[in-house]
């Protein structure tokens, strides 16, 4: 069992759970239990403190829902891998180092590698694969952006501290923070409900995000073709036109439900590019919370591609359609899926037509019992690691803050494939 560092660090801890990866968390650890000292959002607090649950520390490996020894779970997994013609290894949440191990593992089993959110993040990459793109990062938005347009119906649910830490901060280095204008465009009721603190800088505008392209087109032609009231539209346009550093921010995961997702983000992006002919503006697309960015980056430097890769011996190839894990699973085209879910405990949707192995967060939920479940430690709670922040430029260190009760995902993977 790896030992916890001799002088554990409980200040400036990086939160592994959402892609903002706030690094100002202060903790107490007593009796190997975590207590969050910082005054942060309750939902963020809970994600740390749920790791104290007995159900987390005592859960063992399982075969078809029944407790088994780790060795037997490994044995059974190896058997499933051996009998499989086509194995998919699906990253459903991991940091950089687990992703490195995932790729090695996939090459060992001649399998297919993908990330659960690839459909979403490929849409973002599509933009700069096809045209120009101007982007920015969190500190630039905090310190330089005077006008921010955020498209979202529920941004605080997925990124609880985005507004306080980045969009509407107390201090900005290059501009007056209290003069910032922040427009939150989307489901007004829901957005207001989530944001408890009143802030005069933030305006909530009720809007159906499906029509975002029309709104952008209206900005370009300077004539309102949307359902927005004229005065609201004009104020918005006026703010954009007089901005010194405009940021347009969105989470592609919110647009993906619409069949015109790519058109929307492409319209926003093109508009931002055109503004840069004379003024400054940039896009800030927000990533998903399942280690999406760590997956894109790590897989990118190791293979040149962001996901959807098939290994055959030392050789590998990328095919966006052929190696799309979710569609392979749905169409019953593979016989074994290994889910690696080390950070989140979201519900995994398994298909009973194929065999399923989960190496995962001890409280990982699923629709049907997997053939094998092996609990793993969480990077940032049980193990050290590295994780990319939503803006793709900052990578943060994950600390081991308690003594792990489960093996690391890397160790388990090595046992499964070697």
């Amino acid at each position: 069992m790896p030992k916890i560092s001799d002088s554990p660090k409980y200040k400036d801890i990086v939160c592994p759970f959402c892609s903002l990866h706030c690094d100002d968390i202060e903790l107490d650890v007593e009796d190997n239990k975590i207590f969050v000292k910082s005054d942060i959002n309750e939902s963020c607090k809970k994600k740390f403190e749920q790791n104290n649950l007995n159900s987390i520390t005592t859960i063992s490996s399982q075969l078809n829902g029944k407790s088994e020894s780790f060795d037997n779970a490994v044995k059974q997994s190896k058997k499933l891998i051996k009998n499989s013609n086509e194995t998919v290894i699906l990253n459903t949440s991991a940091d950089v180092n687990i992703t490195r191990e995932l790729l090695t593992s996939t090459s060992k089993v001649n399998g297919i590698f993908d990330h659960i959110n690839s459909e979403t993040f490929l849409k973002n990459i599509d933009i700069y694969q096809r045209k120009g793109f101007m982007s920015t990062s969190l500190s630039e938005v905090k310190n330089k952006s005077d006008v921010i347009v955020l498209f979202s119906n529920n941004i605080l649910e997925n990124y609880p501290r985005l507004v306080e830490r980045v969009l509407a901060p107390d201090n900005s280095f290059s501009i007056k923070a209290n003069k910032k204008k922040i427009y939150v465009i989307g489901d007004k009721k829901n957005n207001i409900k989530q944001n408890l603190k009143k802030d005069n800088r933030i305006k909530y505008i009720d809007f159906n995000l499906r029509d975002t392209s029309i709104l952008i087109e209206s900005f370009i032609t300077k004539s309102n073709e949307t359902s927005l009231k004229e005065n609201i539209f004009n104020e918005l346009l006026q703010s954009i036109n007089t901005s010194k550093y405009l940021t347009m921010c969105w989470a592609t995961s919110e647009f993906i439900k619409n069949d015109n997702c790519y058109n929307i983000i492409s319209a926003i992006s093109e508009y931002v590019v055109s503004i840069n002919e004379t003024s400054r503006a940039a896009c800030l697309p927000l990533a998903g919370n399942d280690g999406d960015v760590s997956n894109i980056q790590t897989t990118g430097w190791l293979t040149g591609f962001p996901s959807r890769i098939k290994f055959t011996g030392n050789y590998f190839e990328y095919d966006r359609d052929l190696y799309h894990a979710n569609s392979l699973i749905e169409s019953n085209k593979i016989d074994l899926v290994i889910y690696v879910n080390s950070i989140s405990n979201k519900k995994l949707v398994l298909n009973n037509k194929n065999k399923n192995i989960i190496v995962g967060h001890p409280t990982t939920k699923y629709n049907i019992q997997p053939d094998v479940f092996i609990p793993c430690g969480i990077p940032g709670i049980d193990y050290k690691g590295l994780i990319f922040r939503t803006d793709n430029v900052v990578t943060l260190p994950l600390e081991a803050i308690k003594i792990p009760t489960h093996r690391s995902a890397q160790e388990i993977l090595r046992r499964l494939v070697n």
């Binding site: 660090k9 200040k11 400036d12 990086v14 690094d23 100002d24 180092n97 490195r100 990459i125 700069y128 694969q129 096809r130 045209k131 120009g132 793109f133 101007m134 982007s135 920015t136 990062s137 969190l138 500190s139 630039e140 905090k142 310190n143 330089k144 980045v166 201090n171 280095f173 290059s174 010194k244 550093y245 840069n276 003024s279 400054r280 940039a282 894109i296 980056q297 790590t298 990118g300 430097w301 190791l302 293979t303 040149g304 591609f305 962001p306 030392n314 050789y315 590998f316 190839e317 990328y318 050290k384 690691g385 590295l386 990319f388 793709n392 430029v393 900052v394 990578t395 943060l396 260190p397």
Partner: protein
């Protein structure tokens, strides 16, 4: 560890003034030794071989955000049609391929010249996955709001020195680079150009001032590698004047001008684009403490990637294929990735090619000029053997000039230059000189006691390009990693850094600044040695400073 005996080789070891001398080299425990007590485990007959220290690339973009953006942007150039291992494009290879290709060419150390401190953890993690070679990074400063505000409020040089030394430590780097001093920052405030003596709107300071302050910091701290400078006005016709002004900004202190080819343009002739290599090299030849690397261009598809978002944004109109990305990064710097195809039908591209070669050939001292293509900006590093042939073979060079699709002979003096580089000069510019200018201890030489980083070339290969492309043997850390031109099992190199001293009170000030304005805390900005080896995956090797800090 196995012992190795390189028997009867033709040795080139410029550090020890050994040029083409018949000699034996012995390797034990990772070092070059005087002799072996018993028969070596591996004896390599080098009668027909040339032996040089392992080559060093002091400017190659191999790791960090912009490299990865380029990999993902240009997927269509990763050729999947052939069933070989790892077909990522040569101009944006995967990390594994980067290591395989470098070691296969006899390179044992490579330096990423644009490592953004805010992006340092990624750069190191990425480079940690490059096998075989040692690597290192130059931390990018001179566009970060913190330094610019310090300069603008007239901070004392010693405080700036503290900051620079802190950044070297925090980002685990071996040198400091400045890219378009102040220009990347000014672009964030919508300035589109910034000449050497032009004040930025936001900070009211000039690029000259920034270069001066940083060159002084690097010098006073005793950092071996001089300030590494990407000048203002990249690619702009007539920019040779601002290049010379940038050199002058160092006021005689050591300065390294990178990819000088892109900064050696005149604006004469009916096309308002001409070679100023003569003016630049005349300066290079007479000014002490000045070094440069060339950034030779090669015809074909590549991708340009730079911290210079100001210039890259302007250049996006020339993107080929038509796509690009520019980014503002963390009040630290920026980046721009623009794919580009150098075409020999283009007057400008053809002349750029000639300007690079003129620069190499007019520079008198091989210790002052380094062989780079600014990978991948001028072309991929895999074109080095071809470039070496261009330098060593006048007939070959003239032939290519004659065959260019566009006639530039009126505009270049290339034909008049008789010089052919010697093997000794190539050894100097790719081994001893870069080791010296980076302060790499025990590297780039074959002295007894130095690290066994050795490349063995096959003399029988008549074609010099072929010879440099496929050394027969390469030894890294005393291990035979290339044997009969076949790359052996992976080994992993170290990260080379320097650690000048600083007054820790700078950390207090920075901590306050980070808390208030940054989106991460200072403690998570700093990368420790332990994190480097345990989590990121590369051990650190600390190189000595030249001397104790001056002020």
């Amino acid at each position: 560890m196995t012992t190795i005996h390189l028997k009867n080789g033709h040795v080139f070891d410029p550090t020890n003034r050994i040029y083409n001398k018949k000699k034996d080299i012995f390797v034990q425990d990772g070092k070059i030794v005087k002799s072996l007590k018993k028969k070596a485990d591996q004896i390599i007959n080098c009668t027909d071989k040339i032996i040089m220290p392992g080559a060093i690339d002091l400017h190659t973009h191999i790791g960090g955000g912009k490299v990865n953006i380029a990999r993902l942007m240009l997927q269509e150039f990763h050729n999947n049609s052939d069933r070989d291992y790892d077909l990522t494009a040569d101009f944006v290879p995967s990390t594994l391929k980067t290591g395989l290709q470098y070691i296969g060419m006899g390179y044992t150390s490579c330096f990423e010249p644009a490592l953004l401190p805010m992006n340092a953890r990624q750069s190191h993690a990425e480079m940690a996955d490059i096998p075989f070679v040692d690597k290192g990074g130059y931390a990018l400063l001179g566009n970060d709001d913190y330094l610019l505000s310090m300069i603008s409020r007239g901070a004392h040089q010693s405080e700036i020195n503290d900051y620079v030394a802190f950044i070297l430590k925090a980002s685990q780097c071996i040198g400091i680079k400045v890219v378009n001093a102040g220009g990347i920052n000014a672009f964030k405030f919508n300035q589109r150009a910034l000449d050497v003596d032009e004040q930025s709107i936001r900070y009211k300071i000039t690029p000259r001032k920034i270069v001066n302050v940083l060159a002084r910091a690097v010098y006073e701290l005793g950092v071996p590698h001089p300030l590494h400078v990407h000048c203002s006005n990249l690619g702009v016709p007539g920019n040779f004047k601002s290049t010379i002004e940038t050199i002058k900004a160092a006021e005689g202190l050591p300065i390294h001008i990178t990819h000088i080819q892109f900064h050696s343009y005149g604006d004469n002739g009916d096309r308002k684009f001409s070679s100023a290599s003569a003016e630049i090299t005349e300066y290079l030849n007479k000014v002490p403490n000045l070094t440069c690397d060339v950034g030779q261009i090669m015809f074909g598809q590549t991708v340009t990637m730079s911290g210079d978002s100001m210039k890259q944004h302007k250049n996006h109109k020339h993107a080929h294929p038509k796509k690009w990305l520019c980014m503002d990064i963390e009040c630290d710097a920026g980046c721009g990735v623009v794919p580009f195809k150098y075409r020999d039908q283009s007057f400008v591209n053809a002349l750029q090619w000639a300007i690079g070669l003129e620069t190499f050939l007019l520079a008198e001292d091989a210790e002052k000029i380094f062989l780079t293509t600014d990978h991948p900006n001028g072309g991929p590093f895999t074109s080095y053997p071809h470039l070496i042939k261009l330098l060593m073979d006048k007939t070959f060079r003239d032939d290519l000039l004659d065959r260019l699709a566009v006639d530039i002979k009126e505009h270049t003096i290339l034909k008049d230059i008789k010089r052919e580089y010697t093997l000794s000069e190539i050894a100097t510019m790719t081994r001893s000189a870069p080791a010296k200018i980076l302060g790499l201890k025990n590297k780039g030489e074959l002295s007894v006691g130095s690290d066994a980083y050795i490349t063995v070339y096959d003399k029988k290969l008549n074609d010099i390009e072929e010879m440099f492309a496929h050394p027969s043997h390469v030894i890294k850390d005393g291990i035979l990693v290339v044997k009969n031109s076949v790359v052996q099992d992976y080994i992993w190199g170290k990260t080379q850094v320097v650690r000048p001293e600083y007054d820790v009170s700078i950390e207090k000030k920075l901590n306050k600044h980070f808390k208030k304005f940054n989106t991460i805390g200072l403690s998570n900005f700093v990368i420790s040695n332990d994190e480097m080896s345990e989590v990121i995956g590369s051990d650190v090797n600390v190189n000595d400073c030249l001397r104790k800090r001056i002020s």
